[in-house]
């Protein structure tokens, strides 16, 4: 009943997973079927579980599938799995510790039934059930072994082999001796006498079932297959249980390395490492060291190799691997500078590249940034604080400005002549006296001013959006146009010729060729005339007083100055009369 159920479920499963490619896309039509299958499987296995476990388990007895999404279904299954997994590992470890019991029954005819039975019971495609059949199997194996041992009256020796058994040999020898002893009496020529060379070699044929028909399989029970520790758990295939219980020869296979690695991965450190692949030194000693792992019908035959041999084997494998690596061409990733032409198309898309960015990444635009930006814009619009660029004019370096411009005042001077001469006299006096004491700033003030100006210039440089550095200003050097001799005569060494005016500064150099008045052509004459006219116009342009920086146009008084006494008194009279009139009017009104 259980088996039938099981078989059903297995069939279903196989139909559903016929084409695993389909599972790359969502399959809505078989969703329900899968769910139901999972439920049935879970329930079945749970029911098959031993009672001892159900008491401790946290998993549900029956999985709930309706209206549950995949995550929840998986969670339920996982609870069950995790529990069983722990137990399974524990059991396996235990069984590994007692290795001697873990021998599969040898292919004796009376035992054949049993492995089949065991195998049939292993017909669970469910991961949950593997422990139980294994346990069952183990126990059976143990019993078988005991039986075998009893039967064989075992006394294993070092030289025992698949073909050769010391005990058998001794037995045979003993029998032969017996027969010899008997035969001596009967036959002489058989054994010790001359061997008839011309006789047909029949002995071999007769001995064996068909001498010419000696097959490999008669001698070797080996069928190449991987030994995997995992496959030990996954005894999913029933048909592959042709396990000959004979000791199996294991050839040096490249798979053995992998299996070794796999084994190591799955070991638990607490117990003796159950190695399914490679027999240990200890194992090699024992006869019935069959680590049988089976994957898809493949079998291993172990041969007893010495440590040195094994080591050598491993080394060789390693060497071969390394040689492969070095001799074959490296993949394009390891070839240094690679063009697009030298690597497969779109291969870079699958690569994870690591590089440094030297430039600043562009700012990530999030909602927050836009909100802040808009807020800033709105505030600026409200404040009318625009960032307009102010037109800047390059300061013209005109050295003539250093000359104090002579201002022609065209208005009547405010100061009387006496005052004018007075001021002049005072200036002279001050100049003669030496130091001009007017408005000497206190030192602290000048210090403060210079410090502040420096600071502000620095701040401007930092925060002014359209900053332009200050243009270098010309230094004013006062040169007195004294003749060189006078300068040289006087003793001071510090005075040099550089303080004098250059000849060009005394008289300006004339452009072009020197020519007399007779040599001039019409163009030259015109040129000179134009120059002269230009100069005259410039001379004539007198700067108005108001154009001077320091002056501002005042308010003109509209009053006419009263020049005559008559006019003065007339005006006085008029004012008085008007005043009187206005007052009388007021009185009248009142």
């Amino acid at each position: 009943m259980a088996n039938a159920k099981m078989q059903n479920m297995i069939d279903k499963f196989s139909t559903l997973t016929e084409k695993p490619v389909k599972y790359l896309t969502v399959q809505d039509d078989i969703k329900k079927d899968i769910k139901n299958l999972v439920k049935s499987l879970y329930d079945f296995t749970k029911s098959q579980e031993q009672d001892s476990k159900t008491k401790q388990s946290q998993a549900l007895k029956k999985i709930i599938v309706n209206d549950f999404d995949e995550e929840q279904i998986w969670q339920q299954i996982e609870i069950q799995n995790s529990q069983c997994w722990d137990q399974l590992v524990w059991d396996v470890a235990n069984s590994m510790s007692s290795k001697k019991d873990l021998t599969f029954p040898i292919q004796f005819p009376e035992d054949r039934a049993q492995p089949d039975e065991a195998c049939s019971e292993n017909l669970s495609d469910n991961e949950n059930k593997q422990l139980e059949p294994h346990n069952v199997k183990k126990s059976k194996v143990k019993s078988k072994n005991k039986v075998n041992k009893q039967q064989l009256n075992t006394r294993t020796s070092v030289v025992d082999d698949q073909f050769f058994k010391l005990q058998d040999m001794e037995k045979f020898l003993v029998n032969e001796e017996k027969t010899e002893a008997k035969g001596k009496k009967s036959n002489d020529d058989d054994d010790e006498g001359s061997i008839d060379m011309f006789d047909e070699i029949e002995s071999e044929a007769s001995d064996n079932e068909g001498g010419k028909e000696m097959m490999y399989s008669d001698f070797f029970n080996d069928e190449n297959g991987d030994e995997n520790a995992e496959s030990y758990d996954e005894e999913s295939n029933e048909g592959d249980i042709d396990r000959s219980s004979k000791k199996k020869v294991r050839f040096a296979e490249p798979n053995s390395d992998e299996s070794e690695i796999d084994d190591e991965n799955t070991k638990t450190d607490e117990h003796k490492k159950p190695r399914f692949g490679q027999p240990d030194a200890e194992e090699s000693e024992s006869d019935d060291e069959d680590m049988v792992s089976q994957v898809n019908g493949e079998k291993h035959v172990e041969e007893k190799k010495s440590e040195f041999e094994l080591r050598q084997q491993r080394l060789k494998e390693r060497i071969s691997k390394l040689e492969e690596k070095t001799l074959t061409e490296a993949p394009w990733q390891l070839k240094g500078e690679i063009d697009a032409t030298k690597r497969p198309q779109n291969s870079l898309l699958e690569e994870v590249l690591d590089f440094d960015l030297t430039t600043r990444p562009p700012p990530t635009i999030t909602e927050q940034t836009t909100v802040t930006l808009e807020g800033l814009i709105k505030q600026r619009v409200k404040d009318k604080a625009w960032d307009d660029v102010i037109r800047k004019e390059k300061p013209v370096d005109d050295q003539l400005l250093f000359k104090k411009p002579e201002v022609l005042d065209q208005s009547k001077s405010k100061l009387s002549l006496a005052q004018v001469y007075e001021t002049e006299y005072l200036k002279q006096k001050q100049a003669l006296s030496g130091e001009v004491e007017d408005e000497k700033e206190p030192e602290s003030h000048t210090e403060i001013r210079t410090a502040m100006s420096k600071l502000f210039s620095k701040l401007d440089a930092l925060c002014h959006y359209h900053y332009t550095p200050k243009a270098p200003q010309a230094e004013v050097k006062i040169i007195s146009n004294t003749p060189a001799i006078s300068m040289e005569e006087v003793a001071p060494i510090a005075v040099s010729d550089a303080a004098l005016l250059a000849p060009e500064e005394v008289k300006k150099k004339r452009k072009g060729d020197l020519m007399s008045k007779e040599e001039r052509t019409q163009t030259d004459k015109n040129r000179e005339r134009r120059k002269k006219k230009k100069l005259q116009r410039k001379k004539g342009q007198v700067m108005k007083v108001t154009e001077h920086r320091n002056t501002k146009k005042g308010v003109e008084s509209s009053e006419k100055s009263l020049k005559t006494s008559k006019a003065f008194f007339q005006q006085l009279n008029d004012e008085a009369t008007s005043l009187i009139k206005s007052k009388t009017k007021k009185n009248v009104k009142k």
């Binding site: 002579e406 065209q410 009547k412 009387s416 004018v420 001469y421 005259q536 004539g540």
Partner: protein, 245 residues
């Protein structure tokens, strides 16, 4: 009978007409010094005095040139003199310690050395001051004469420079003055002088060199050069003058 030489300067009728009776008495004194008039018979000349600090009883008709100055007042300066009389005589009397009066009949400003006068040279200064005012200068400008020694007044006529007739003369005067007196003021400011243009007459007040500069400028203007040119020359010259001092 003593007859004195008639003083050309004095335009007054004899103050003390010599009467036979007096002569007979032999009371006539010669000099008009001092306040002390001994004679009772002296007929006081009634002179109109607007304001007199001291009443002078002059027995003498003439006063010596050394001790007195008379400055004639032209008609057009009569009113300004009257208006500025205070400002005129105050510095003379207080600082120079002279005696001054305006003779309304003769239309003269008379200045006299008093007993408290310290320096007789001041008399001339005061006379110059008044004269300058009467030429047309402002009181404050004329005051400079009193304060500084080396200021002078130079006068000349247009016809001295160049004979111009009719329209030309008018235009010349216009050139001198400029629009609203701009040219005149410019020259004044640059050369630190004061100029008075009285029809054909030109008076310049200032120091010697400045007068020379101004005179040159004015002459150039009279002779026909445009004001712009004159300004240019003026500027250069003035700069040099300024640098020198």
């Amino acid at each position: 009978m003593e007859t004195e030489n008639i003083n050309v300067d004095e335009f007054l009728p004899a103050k003390n007409p010599i009467k036979l009776s007096n002569i007979k008495k032999g009371v006539v004194t010669e000099s008009g010094e001092g306040m002390d008039v001994e004679e009772q018979n002296v007929i006081k000349k009634k002179t109109k005095k607007f304001k007199l600090k001291k009443v002078k009883k002059n027995a003498e008709p003439n006063e010596s040139k050394i001790k007195m100055r008379k400055v004639a007042v032209p008609a057009h300066r009569y009113t300004p003199l009257r208006e500025n009389w205070l400002k005129i005589f105050t510095p003379i009397v207080e600082h120079l310690l002279l005696q001054v009066r305006f003779n309304t009949k003769s239309r003269n400003v008379e200045i006299r050395v008093g007993p408290e006068t310290k320096d007789d040279a001041n008399l001339q200064k005061a006379a110059d001051f008044v004269k300058a005012f009467l030429y047309g200068f402002d009181v404050e400008d004329a005051l400079a004469l009193l304060r500084l020694d080396d200021l002078f007044v130079e006068s000349f006529e247009i016809k001295d420079v160049k004979t111009l007739q009719g329209d030309h003369l008018g235009r010349a005067i216009g050139r001198l003055a400029g629009k609203a007196g701009r040219t005149k003021f410019t020259i004044e400011n640059v050369t630190k002088t004061r100029i008075v243009l009285a029809d054909s007459k030109i008076h310049i007040l200032g120091s010697y060199q400045n007068i020379a500069l101004a005179r040159r400028a004015i002459c150039n203007l009279i002779m026909g050069s445009p004001p712009s040119k004159v300004y240019g020359n003026l500027r250069n010259v003035a700069k040099r003058v300024a640098e020198r001092f």
